[in-house]
């Protein structure tokens, strides 16, 4: 199997803490991988390194056989865990902004997704609720024809109806040619989406495997396993 992500000995130190401590992780093409862990486990640091927003202290990170840089940014579509649009923008402005910025942006797909999400193009970014924000941001991110989608907490803090819409959009957008990395601590809501899960604890990988195999071997859902690994 071809690999979309290859990580070797990845370490990230901040001034007096170690966020990631020697992580090895390969991800095959066409897979949906869940990175699970509580706040402060290193999920967002890992993802920011993959997205090219942070540099590692040590170790190798390759995406589609390239070191993180201009090329990898052009094939990675990244959903940050916070709003990345300007408040003065309308949804329509946001679409134009994205289509100016990314060559692989598919306007038609974006329009379909926004319609699916029931978002009106004339709304202003500062008029949106938390759930609408997530829906808009996700629509933009999924409308790029990227090789790798990285979604950081896509359903955090949204209501159940918006959550279902977001899950639907993720499923409908998924195809064998692209891969997805999704972080979440809402394991129960998202576990059925994952081919594979990685449990991150204090900057190291505690457990990883095929989601279905883990269920079979342990007779437990991923959510229950998660509670076992991270529970006190």
């Amino acid at each position: 199997m071809e690999k979309i992500v290859e990580i070797k000995g990845l370490t990230k130190r901040y001034i007096n803490t170690i966020a990631l401590n020697g992580i090895d992780l390969d991800i095959e093409k066409g897979r949906v991988v869940g990175i699970l862990g509580p706040n402060g486990s290193g999920k967002t640091t890992l993802i920011k390194i993959l997205a090219g927003l942070l540099r590692q202290s040590k170790g190798d990170v390759r995406i589609d056989s390239h070191n993180v840089g201009v090329y990898t940014k052009s094939i990675v579509s990244y959903l940050p865990d916070r709003n990345f649009l300007y408040n003065w923008m309308s949804i329509e402005d946001a679409l134009k902004f994205y289509s100016d910025f990314y060559k692989d942006f598919d306007m038609k797909r974006a329009e379909n997704l926004l319609e699916f999400m029931n978002l009106d193009n004339n709304l202003k970014v500062n008029q949106l609720s938390k759930g609408m924000h997530e829906k808009l941001n996700l629509s933009l991110v999924l409308s790029r024809k990227a090789k790798l989608y990285i979604l950081d907490e896509p359903i955090a803090g949204v209501d159940p109806v918006a959550r279902d819409k977001i899950l639907d959009a993720i499923i409908n957008n998924y195809n064998e040619d692209s891969s997805m990395i999704i972080t979440t601590h809402l394991v129960r809501d998202m576990e059925n989406l994952f081919d594979e899960v990685v449990f991150l604890k204090e900057g190291t990988i505690k457990l990883r495997g095929e989601a279905e195999k883990l269920r079979e071997e342990n007779g437990k859902s991923i959510d229950e396993l998660y509670k076992e690994v991270f529970g006190e």
Binding site: I171, Y174, N192, A211, E212, K213
Partner: protein, 120 residues
């Protein structure tokens, strides 16, 4: 469909479809929903649904026609067998649990008989 914790998701989806076949909601020759439709409906990874379909095909309950979709087999014998098998599974589970509660076989039979008369 509600997922329980004990079983892999693909097996739960297989059981869900088997029940529909037995109940006649899906008849011999009927087309199953596409992988994408079902994964969207159940909020499950399409690869998982695909695996369920492959396993059902391995059990000869469905067949795939290239470019057309996946269909329930029309062989009545296979469908009748499936019905028996699933009934057997439920009965095994029921009897096991009744025995755990301390009922013996005669008592269990009595309870079922009484249940039937009550039901009428």
């Amino acid at each position: 469909m509600e997922f329980t914790d004990k079983l892999p998701i693909y097996i739960q989806i297989m059981n869900y479809l088997k029940k529909k076949i037995i109940a006649g909601e899906l008849k011999g020759g009927d087309k199953l929903p596409s992988v994408r439709e079902l994964s969207s409906e159940l909020k499950v990874n399409p690869n998982t649904v695909q695996r369920s379909y492959q396993e059902l095909e391995r059990e000869n309950l469905v067949y795939t026609q290239r470019g057309m979709g996946t269909f329930v087999v029309e062989d009545q014998k296979i469908l009748a067998n499936l019905r028996k098998e699933m009934a057997q599974e439920i009965i095994n589970k029921f009897i096991k649990e009744m025995k755990e509660l301390g009922f013996n076989s005669d008592e269990i039979i009595d309870i079922i008989k009484n249940y039937r008369t009550e039901g009428k």
